[in-house]
């Protein structure tokens, strides 16, 4: 049986991740797997011992010291994680989730998500992690890694939960956008929600035709709007999202190689950063 993988940490996004997971769980009739990853404090770099002297039994002593340091720090983290998971589970059940399983793992956040996504219909994460609490307008460092490596659609929760009533689909006729469109047609989560197709490109017959064709595929029993406007994709799409009440933005993600992204930046990252609504990323 498939499930929804919801990942929480001690950031303020944990609540909205749970709320969106509960909402998706209701609409999909799938259980939620609530994941919290305990990241170990790195004792090696935390010791700040530059003496460089190694004496009798240094290997065993160092080993014991590192284990001791890490064990005590991790025990605290584990306790906090348990409390988080318990609160999350309570919130999910109150939010009407179909069923909830909690999962507590040690390791790297990204690696663990990739291990656990095998049976996930969708992976839900917060826009920022606990380390980025005060860096507004930045997205968490883990998001891009998860999305690039994941084989599942990733739903990035916004800070405030509002039940999605409208969908904005960023469409540019690229393979990634086509996949996002196909996903949107197939997903019961967004069934019957009105969709607004947005294309940021010059207004010509070819683009118009592509947009109308895409709209045609969506029009089964729902309202479809289209916008074709020239401009920077981030600006055009963000503008439409602003005007749409309770929107969720759906887009194909990271269509370009990491190298290109390093040089010119990524539309996807810019998009997630600027809009204040949840984003569903499909690769």
């Amino acid at each position: 049986m498939k499930h929804i993988l919801a990942c929480i940490d001690a950031s303020s996004y944990a609540n909205s991740v749970c709320d969106y997971a509960a909402w998706a769980s209701q609409r999909l009739q799938l259980p939620v797997e609530l994941l919290h990853v305990v990241q170990r404090a790195d004792a090696v770099s935390a010791r700040s011992d530059l003496s460089g002297a190694i004496g009798l039994g240094v290997k065993t002593n160092l080993m014991e010291e590192l284990v001791e340091l890490e064990a005590s720090a991790t025990r605290l983290e584990v306790e906090r994680g348990r409390a988080l998971l318990a609160a999350g589970e309570k919130r999910l059940r109150e939010g009407g989730a179909f069923d909830v399983r909690t999962l507590h793992r040690h390791g790297g956040v990204v690696e663990t998500i990739l291990e656990r996504e095998e049976n996930a219909q969708v992976v839900i994460v917060g826009k920022r992690g606990a380390d980025h609490e005060f860096a507004a307008e930045h997205i968490g460092s883990k998001i891009e890694r998860v999305v690039r490596a994941s084989a599942r659609p990733v739903f990035v929760a916004s800070r405030q939960y509002r039940e999605p009533r409208n969908v904005v689909l960023a469409y540019d006729a690229s393979p990634a956008a086509e996949r996002a469109l196909a996903r949107l047609v197939a997903l019961p989560t967004y069934a019957r929600l009105p969709v607004h197709l947005v294309m940021a490109d010059t207004d010509n017959a070819a683009h118009r035709r592509a947009l109308d064709e895409a709209a045609g595929r969506l029009s089964e029993g729902r309202e479809v709007l289209t916008t074709l406007e020239k401009g920077k994709p981030e600006a055009v799409i963000a503008g439409i999202v602003e005007q749409t009440p309770d929107a969720v933005l759906v887009m194909g993600a990271y269509g370009h190689s990491p190298i290109r992204t390093l040089i010119v930046g990524s539309t996807t990252t810019a998009m997630i950063r600027t809009v204040r609504v949840p984003v569903l990323l499909v690769r």
Partner: protein, 494 residues
């Protein structure tokens, strides 16, 4: 194309700790590189360039972030005869071939052979290495002005006591600085690094070793290259395991093998001698907070900076200061706990450990010691397992049939006791041998069973063997169950 995030994690996740640790390690590399150039009978340049190039290359292509590789004692002691008889160009050629052999070993995934190196052998190897490092310091301690001894003692005192004052600066560095200043300003007459040979003042250049490219040359260098490659990989695999344990992160051993090969291959062309991972320096690195590729990279680059830019300063460092640092590395490398363990470990393990040490110190060749240790631990293991074997028997009520039940491990070492556990002289009509609880491991075991059956037949006794299928199912090679899922249950299941 490794992905960007992995690159970031392996290079930039801990820059402060890595840069500082790399700096500390670079200082710990100098004495070793110079010291072992002297042992190998080559110019200090050779060791210094090798250390720089191995450290930098392995930081890019190795499989164990945070591990330190450079030119080492283990390799230096192997090449003494080669340099003595044929000259330094043959050493460069041998280093290039060593790299090729290591790359082949990496491609063949020979890292799995490490599973057959027991813990006692590893401990023996580490202890032998520490003894070799210490012995390498002896030329600097014998037949020198008496003032050398107080200097070495002072150096060691500073190294071990200074961390109680502050842990912000590496104490070996402080020790070297203080001793150098003391010797320089008092004008003491002791040997300095400058007396050992020329220090490079230029960057290393790419050169092809000046040897005839003939079959004869290959014949000369191949045995050396083979031993160098084996020792280098052994020490690297062990060190990787130690760094894995300390940082609790996994590493790619196969990639590390190939990386060592690439590093040595190019180092040979830069006019350097071969090297491998270093236990002492890697521990210093982790202890100082280094854990990614950046620390290894910094150690190599900073080493080059030290020798090229601070060359004149390095030349006035008294050898006594470097000897003190090397004694520290050897003390830190030695597994002191193993001496205490000799008393309460099984005697076989202690014998393996001691034999490994003795053979290494005697031959100055770590590969021979490890080989002896592996063979010994194999023999001890076989002699322990062959005792897991029993034969019970009972006579049927009519007194004409005897049932033998064999259980346990039958293989080459226990085959003799298998044959002798039957009474062939007893007058019977029929013998039933039930082997369903026995494991027949090899063809010696099967041959033994045939032999026992023939011996009974000669006495005119009819023999029936029961449960042979189960017994020979453990002949792993024949049925190759070890590469099918569930092999473990099968082997343990009956």
């Amino acid at each position: 194309m490794p992905n960007l995030q992995t690159l970031k994690r392996e290079w930039l996740s801990n820059p402060r700790g890595d840069i500082l640790a790399g700096t500390v390690v670079a200082l710990a590399l100098i004495p070793e590189a110079i010291g072992f150039s002297i042992i190998a009978g080559v110019d200090p340049r050779v060791g210094l360039y090798a250390s720089f190039s191995i450290a930098v290359i392995i930081s890019l292509v190795g499989g164990r972030p945070g591990m330190i590789s450079a030119s080492t004692a283990a390799i230096a002691v192997l090449v003494v005869p080669l340099v003595r008889d044929y000259g330094v160009d043959y050493l460069f050629a041998a280093t290039i071939l060593m790299g090729v052999l290591q790359m082949i070993a990496g491609l063949l995934r020979l890292n799995v052979l490490m599973q057959y190196v027991s813990r006692s052998v590893i401990t023996g190897f580490v202890n032998a290495l520490a003894i070799l490092i210490f012995m390498a310091q002896l030329p600097e301690l014998i037949g020198v002005p008496w003032i050398t001894y107080p200097l070495v003692a002072a150096g060691l005192a500073i190294i071990y006591l200074f961390p109680y004052l502050t842990k912000v600066v590496p104490s070996p560095l402080v020790s070297i600085a203080i001793l150098t200043a003391a010797v320089f300003y008092t004008g003491m007459d002791v040997r300095t690094v400058g007396d050992m040979g020329d220090l490079p003042s230029s960057l290393p250049a790419f050169l092809v070793p000046d040897v005839p490219f003939t079959f004869e040359t290959l014949r000369i260098i191949f045995p050396f290259s083979l031993t160098m490659a084996a020792v280098g990989l052994l020490e690297s695999m062990m060190t990787a395991q130690i760094v894995d344990d300390l940082t609790d992160t996994p590493s790619d051993k196969q990639r590390e093998m190939k990386g060592q090969g690439i590093a040595n291959f190019f180092t040979g062309f830069l006019g350097g001698m071969g090297g491998c991972a270093m236990i002492g320096q890697s521990v210093i690195n982790v202890k100082s907070g280094g854990e990614t590729r950046l620390s290894t990279f910094v150690s190599g680059v900073f080493l080059l900076f030290l020798i090229v830019v601070l060359g004149p300063l390095v030349a006035i460092i008294p050898m006594a200061a470097l000897v003190a640092v090397m004694i520290m590395v050897s003390i830190g490398t030695f597994s002191w706990r193993s001496i205490r363990d000799i008393r309460h470990h099984p005697w076989q393990s202690s014998v393996v450990m001691v034999v490994t040490v003795v053979i290494v110190v005697w031959t100055h060749d770590l590969a021979q010691g490890v080989l002896a240790g592996v063979i010994l631990s194999g023999l001890f293991f076989a002699s322990k397992v062959k005792r897991l074997f029993t034969v019970t028997s009972e006579l049927a009520s009519d007194g004409l049939t005897r049932f033998y039940a064999v259980s346990g491990q039958v293989f080459f070492a226990s085959s003799e006791s298998f044959v002798s556990s039957f009474d062939y002289k007893e007058v019977l009509d029929r013998v039933v041998i039930d082997v369903s609880d026995a494991h027949f491991w090899d063809i010696s075991a099967i041959g033994t069973l045939d032999k026992a059956i023939l011996k009974f037949r000669r006495e005119g006794t009819a023999v029936e063997v029961v449960g042979l299928n189960e017994a020979s199912a453990s002949m792993v090679e024949r049925f190759a169950t070890h590469d099918k899922p569930g092999a473990g249950e099968q082997l343990g299941g009956h």
